[in-house]
């Protein structure tokens, strides 16, 4: 059992531990460098070890800010997924976890930012204090450096100020630091799960403050206030001998006055690559925005679902992929993700949109879904489409047996998949590796069935025409039903077709017993790799992951369940 879990989750854990390891290595290495480096000896006299804390966390911040833009470069991820040379199996599944990685790196940035900011507060306070009258000895001597023309300064605070805040706001590093921290806090507070679900628009718009974040980060070090002794000065000025003879620096030949220079900014070197990469992503999106999208069909389903059939030149998709849709008439800045519900073999692509917020409600209204008179084609608003971007379901065809589980609106990616399966079955030439598909749909409301029920009905008929009735086995679970419905169902129980869906397979009522289902599947396919694909809420995802681990056999030749979750 442990072995299977390790196999399934192993690669994710290894990647996370590698990331953590690199962070720790960079932190500890830089920390000890700043603690022991000769050229920063005098800086350490004033600041102590908070210099090392600040610099070590700064390097980790550079590293994490470099990483954070890469997981959301969707075109890059799709490109890597498309190149199937090395990206089979477990590695492909890691590409699906790009958003989780993005969040992890964000937490890393938050932690390092806290350490960095706190350390610099101490640094600024110590710099300020060493300019006060109470500072004596070496400290005072070092702070006075830079007052005469031939000297370079060490202490960036030149006179004893009333208040460190004003000193902070006089430096580029201080102002940009404040702006960066503020941007980070705003981004993080508007990205909590609750806000993302309550108002996707707010999350989307506030997240664009990252532009301010990266701009400020690039110029953050330009003031060069982290100062160390120059190499020339080090060769002339022996620290161990001279540090106690600070009163004689001007006079004694062996101890010339030490010269200091600021460290040049390095953040821009780390973030330049990813920023350019992400800029390319945005340029691609803009180019796609310019491309024309023709709306060929608009279907308004009674359950408040809008179906749009569209065509675009050069558009190629795979089942399970999603697109970003923008409508200038509603908002010129917002791009919303929708899963494609058409099969690649069809000459159009379609999405099913449900009214779930401002933007979607406005879209439904614009397309005349609110029960108004028929819309003329030239009156329909112009749409722009970016994508398609890859997601887990492209792997369904790589397993001999696949189990697809959808909860509620999570059925949309599977709509594309089932259509695609039917088309592939019809093409008798290429035999499929996939030989059996189990489809589970858990739904609360019977009304939401109806657009998908048509699809299942047509699939049912076509499969039986081809003699492949046993290829697809589907189970529908209705979890919310009232007494009237129960009575109606009980009265029609003996009929051939199901009373709710009109399908031959009966609808079940209540939630599925996953233990029984998995047991039965494992029993029917004793030595296969079974791919499990899920789209829906987290709680069920956890249950299914547990089932996959439980029912995968310890024997490498036995049955193995591989879990894949869809996420945006």
């Amino acid at each position: 059992m442990m072995g299977c879990w390790v196999l399934n989750e192993g690669l994710s854990i290894i990647l996370v531990l590698s990331w953590l390891g690199v962070n720790l290595y960079l932190f500890i290495d830089t920390f000890y460098w700043y603690e022991e480096e000769e050229s920063f000896h005098y800086t350490r006299v004033i600041l102590g070890s908070t210099l090392a804390w600040a610099r070590a966390s700064a390097l980790c911040l550079n590293f994490n800010c470099m990483l954070i833009l890469i997981p959301i470069s969707r075109n890059l991820i799709s490109f890597i997924r498309g190149t199937s040379i090395c990206c089979r199996g477990p590695w492909r599944r890691q590409l699906d976890k790009n958003l989780k990685f993005h969040k992890l790196v964000a937490y890393g940035i938050a932690v390092n930012a806290t350490i960095h900011v706190v350390a610099h507060f101490f640094n600024l306070e110590r710099y300020r204090w060493s300019q006060s009258k109470e500072a004596q000895g070496l400290l005072a001597a070092l702070s006075k450096l830079g007052n005469t023309p031939n000297e370079s300064y060490l202490n960036p605070i030149r006179t004893f100020p009333m208040n460190t805040t004003t000193e902070l706001l006089r430096t580029i590093a201080g102002i940009t630091g404040l702006v960066i921290s503020l941007a980070l806090v705003l981004i993080m507070t508007s990205s909590t799960e609750f806000i993302r679900q309550a108002s996707y628009e707010l999350f989307w718009c506030t997240h664009h403050v990252f532009i301010v974040f990266f701009l400020s980060l690039a110029i953050h070090g330009m003031g060069r206030i982290v100062r160390g002794q120059t190499q020339d000065s080090l060769s002339l000025h022996n620290i161990t001998f001279c540090r106690d003879r600070y009163a004689e620096w001007q006079t004694v030949a062996q101890c010339p006055v030490p010269q200091f220079s600021g460290k040049e900014p390095s953040a821009w070197k780390w973030i330049l690559g990813p920023v350019v990469l992400y800029a390319c992503e945005r340029i691609i999106r803009f180019w796609r925005f310019q491309q024309e999208v023709v709306i060929t069909k608009v279907v308004s389903h009674p359950s408040g679902v809008l179906e749009l059939h569209m065509k675009k030149r050069g558009f190629k998709m795979a089942p399970g992929q999603y697109i970003l849709v923008q409508c200038s008439a509603i908002s010129s800045l917002e791009w919303h993700p929708f899963t494609l519900t058409s099969a690649p073999q069809e000459d159009f692509f379609s999405v099913h949109i449900r009214a779930a917020g401002d933007w979607t409600a406005a879209l439904l209204e614009a397309f005349g879904a609110e029960g108004q008179a028929l819309q003329e084609p030239w009156r329909l608003p112009r749409l722009a489409v970016d994508g398609p971007f890859g997601a887990a379901l492209t792997d369904v065809f790589h397993y001999p047996v696949s189990v697809c589980i959808a909860a509620g609106i999570g059925v949309t990616p599977f709509a594309a998949l089932l259509k695609s399966i039917w088309y592939k079955c019809s093409e008798a030439q290429t035999p499929l590796k996939l030989s059996k598909v189990y489809f589970y749909w858990i739904c609360r409301d019977a009304r939401a069935f109806e657009w998908f029920a048509d699809l299942l009905l047509s699939l049912e008929t076509r499969m039986s025409e081809q003699g492949k009735t046993h290829f697809l086995s589907y189970h529908i679970f209705l979890t919310g039903w009232d007494e009237n419905q129960a009575v109606h169902i009980a009265l029609h129980w003996d009929e051939n077709t199901d009373v709710i869906t009109g399908l031959k397979q009966k609808t079940f009522y209540g939630r599925p017993n996953w233990n029984n289902e998995f047991k039965q599947i494992a029993y029917s396919h004793p030595s296969s790799s079974i791919g499990v694909f899920f789209c829906g809420p987290k709680a069920l995802s956890r249950t299914l992951q547990k089932m996959c681990r439980l029912y995968s056999s310890a024997d490498p030749r036995g049955v193995h369940f591989y879990y894949n979750k869809e996420s945006f």
């Binding site: 503020l182 507070t189 707010l202």
Partner: protein, 194 residues
């Protein structure tokens, strides 16, 4: 962006600001920075803001996920009745709480974040009927002017904060508080006549 539930974001932002104020306060007090007593104030203010903002308010429509353990705090917060229910009061309260922390470097980030949360609450508390495009801009301008006046008053207090005894701050702080109430309640339906 019509029906964004700004209050939800203001709540998250205020909670985060409270935590930042506490952290900054601890750093300043532990490090015995100059004027570290502002740090001590900041810890108290931060704890107060966190306790006030921890219970998540119910959404206008849809379901609300409660924060873990919030039911203990909700009963306390409810005791204060309209004082805590009203977003306008929260906006003014957060603005006032954030001002003293702005005098110390370690807590300046907390001030900025809490001021932003206050601004968002102010945005929410403008009644929807008055929230047409033009009136919103006008309201924002008026609010901006009021905030500027309050900041000038706070700066006035700041100049006096270099006095040797903390107790001398009290009359000037009271004056600032009265100004704040007068400025922000003018025109509000529940305002006292001043």
């Amino acid at each position: 962006m019509g029906q964004i539930e700004w209050a939800m974001w203001a709540n998250e932002q205020a909670l985060a600001s409270g935590l930042i104020l506490i952290t900054g306060g601890i750093v300043a007090t532990a490090g015995r920075f100059t004027q570290w007593y502002f740090g001590a104030y900041s810890i108290v203010a931060g704890v107060f803001v966190c306790l006030l903002e921890y219970p998540r308010g119910k959404r206008k429509k849809g379901s609300t996920m409660e924060r873990w353990g919030q039911k203990y705090m909700t009963s306390v917060v409810k005791l204060f009745g309209p004082l805590t229910r009203n977003y306008y009061v929260r906006a003014v309260l957060h603005l006032l709480l954030s001002v003293p922390a702005g005098f110390l470097l370690a807590t300046i980030l907390g001030t900025a974040c809490l001021a932003i949360a206050s601004g968002i609450y102010l945005l929410v508390s403008v009644p929807p009927a008055h929230r047409g495009k033009r009136t919103l801009n006008q309201t924002q301008c008026v609010c901006g002017v009021k905030c500027a006046v309050l900041s000038a008053c706070a700066f006035h207090v700041c100049k006096w904060s270099s006095v040797s005894r903390l107790i001398d701050l009290i009359p000037s702080s009271c004056q600032a508080l009265i100004w704040a109430v007068a400025l922000f309640s003018r025109g509000h339906p529940h305002a006292p006549w001043l």
